[in-house]
């Protein structure tokens, strides 16, 4: 889906696993809510096909990071780069049209709309009927349960099914990178496992995924790389294996003393 953007060289930093151009990048980004300084000189980069996660406690700026990536929050300084292009002033719709998509926290489906309508809303910015039809089939292939529930209102689905629809909706914009906000939030433990398998599966098909999680153990077990955010600053930036082995990390986030 995104092989064309894999030209070698360019801006890739040392942590990039394949050395290509970053799909999505933060360069020294600062954001403020009024006088409150949220993100402080944050540098991030996501490469094609990667699964990366952003870890951090409450109020560490995880959600703000996502909102800034999507263009719902404008950075006060620094650059947001999408596929080599600085998109600081561009609205959300521009970024969605150019390959960013989001699975919101708690799924947040349009509850009183049908599953089909939810999926079609994911493709809101697209006009190619044939392509939309194709992608619907792709989503049904990924989640056969979704096809059975097309006419049902999404609010009446079970938690697991809702998660499938939320991911399906995000896929419908034919994205290059998928942002996921707390995918394990509000799911039963058994479903959390299933959910991460799902994320891995989508990643295996070549989708770059940027995931914000509190469940650090679980997230790092499937991720390629991870960052740890603390009060708006990136304090750790390493491969998933290294983070899992990091003693500091283990004491602060992995629940070990």
């Amino acid at each position: 889906m995104n092989s064309e953007s894999m030209s070698p060289g360019a801006t890739g930093d040392a942590t990039g696993q394949d050395g290509g151009t970053a799909l999505l990048e933060f360069r020294e980004v600062n954001t403020h809510y009024g006088a409150v300084h949220i993100l402080k000189d944050v540098n991030l980069s996501i490469y094609p096909g990667e699964l990366v996660c952003l870890l951090g406690g409450n109020a560490s700026g995880k959600t703000t990071t996502l909102k800034t990536l999507l263009g719902m929050v404008t950075p006060t300084s620094g650059e947001v780069v999408l596929d080599g292009e600085v998109v600081n002033g561009q609205p959300t719709s521009y970024r969605v049209a150019n390959g960013v998509t989001m699975v919101p926290e708690n799924r947040r489906l349009f509850k009183r709309l049908s599953v089909k309508e939810n999926l079609l809303l994911g493709a809101y910015l697209r006009n190619d009927k044939a392509g939309i039809e194709e992608d619907l089939e792709y989503v049904y292939g990924l989640f056969p349960r979704v096809r059975e529930r097309l006419a049902q209102k999404s609010g009446t689905l079970s938690g697991g099914e809702q998660q499938m629809v939320a991911i399906g909706r995000a896929l419908m914009s034919r994205p290059k990178v998928m942002l996921m906000d707390e995918p394990s939030m509000g799911l039963a433990p058994a479903l959390v496992q299933q959910n991460f398998e799902l994320i891995q599966q989508i990643n295996d098909e070549g989708m770059a995924i940027f995931m914000v999680e509190q469940n650090a153990n679980m997230a790092l077990s499937i991720a390629d790389r991870g960052w740890v955010l603390q009060t708006g600053r990136v304090v750790l930036d390493d491969t998933a294996e290294a983070l899992l082995a990091n003693p500091e990390m283990r004491s602060a986030y992995l629940g070990e003393s």
Partner: protein, 614 residues
Amino acid sequence: MTAVTAPRAVTPALLDQDWRSVGKWGGLCGLAIVLVSLIGMPVGLDSRTLVEGRLSLGYLALVWLPVVFGYVVSKRVVLEGVETPDPGLRDVVAGLCCGIVAGLGPALLILGLDNWNLRKPLVNWSPKLLELLTYDRGIGYGVAAWIITCAVLAALGSMLHVVPASVRRFVSYAVMGALLLSVLESAIVDLSEGFGLESLTDAIYAKRGGLTVTSTIILGVVIGGLSLLTKGRVKSATNRYRQMEGAERQRTSIVLFIVVAAVCVVLPMFLGTIMNELLANVGLFLLLALGLNIVVGLAGILDLGYVAFFAVGGYTTAVLTSSQSPWFHPEWHFGIVLLAVVVMAAITGLVIGAPVIRMRGDYLAIVTLGFGEIIRLLFLSDWLKPYFGGAQGITNVPPVDFGFALVKGTDPRSVFYLVLAFCALAIYVSWRLQASRLGRAWMAIREDEQVAEAMGINTVNTKLMAFVVGAILASFSGAILAAKVGSIFPNSFMILVSIIILVVVIVGGMGNIVGVLVGSVVLIGVLGGPRQPGLLQEFQSFKLLIYGALLVFMMLKRPEGLVPSARRSQELHQEEYLQDAWLKGEDHDQEEAEAQAEAVAHAPAGVEGEGDPS
């Protein structure tokens, strides 16, 4: 939950009641009777006979209360898997006791009326009311009569639970049917005159109004009998229609559409002026409600100043067609004016919409409320008097000349046909929009604005679009109003109009075209609009009270409106099915059961097993 297999087993003792609930409902009923008396309904409506020599509308306004409360107090919520006693004599006792408590209300009122004079604060605290409540036979008789009447009526109401379903159906349909026939007497007489059936109505109704006793009984039995014959037929027919697919459904829809269209076109020919006037008013408000339905129902923007666009449409038409327009009077033809109306409405929609559309919920409601009033006050102001005539408004708006037909206020039938055409257009547009990309975007914004934005929807522009489409529909209604009335005044555009349209949309069912249609017919047609009388002209002065009570009732008991969308009821059905399957522990559908178990497991299973730095 363990007793799933053996519910409804216990029959508790006769007097083993939930006395608190009985007392509460009885007290509420008594209060309601006193309230209805004191707002002047019985006295005001006593002259209107329903059943010759037996029942007047004034008494009906009081006596329906104990029946309904008796029914409610003995109603049991049947929960799957929870033991519920079978309905029996015990429930009738509950109803009886509730009625006795309720009867204390009017009884105390009689004593009060007899002993004190509170006429100053309470206008209807009159000897006339006392006379009416005591049946003019002394205080003691009145007190006893009310307690006994309420007790008996409430017991009858509660008995509806005990009798078999077919008897319940027969009785309720017979009573409701007979009452409806007598309450709607004037409309029915008008209708039968149109069809040349005066002899029939002469036979049914007494000379001085109201059904005769014999005809009441006969009609009641006939209607009750018919209700038994048609039992379940309507439901199965609608279900069959819903399950149809593809070409068959399309064919049926077309046939249904032709039938409805034929009725709409043919019926007015047989109706008199008053009924046609009424239909025209229903149409005008339906057009407004359809527009507001797009704004509130689809896009979820609570616009309380919707009347502004109605006014803009009316004034634009008046200025451009009337010879008496004080400033600019090109006297254009209505057809050309409509284009100007669309432009003006769109501009006003953008001007009002642009600043308010970024606000959320309550703030938006308040600000639109303000704008609605501002527009009216501008038209009323001395400042703009040289342009819009101030309080005198603009008169001499000419009738609409289509060449083959003339639409003027004195011929309400022609107005109705014009309105009908516009309503058909509005219904078509709303229907197409609902299934369109734009409609989906509106609904997405209504459901979750932030996520809608994350999907790439430009929420500001999309909401403005809804505002403008709504404004254009409202302005059409205003244009027709101007041509119908022949003049336009600022006080036709009071805030009340906005509120009544909103009530129509809410009561009918938000976001649902059929619901809005039913809402307009029921509210505007039966009760009447802000200034327009409805079928129940007697209730003219109590209209707003009824609107308010209805709104409160709907919000509490049926927030989805009178006509919930087909989809919604289907899903409710599905949910029930799943729940039943799960409760009964049926494992043949493992996945469904799992889904349910999972839904139940949600709450406690929130965040678990990860370290949150603290």
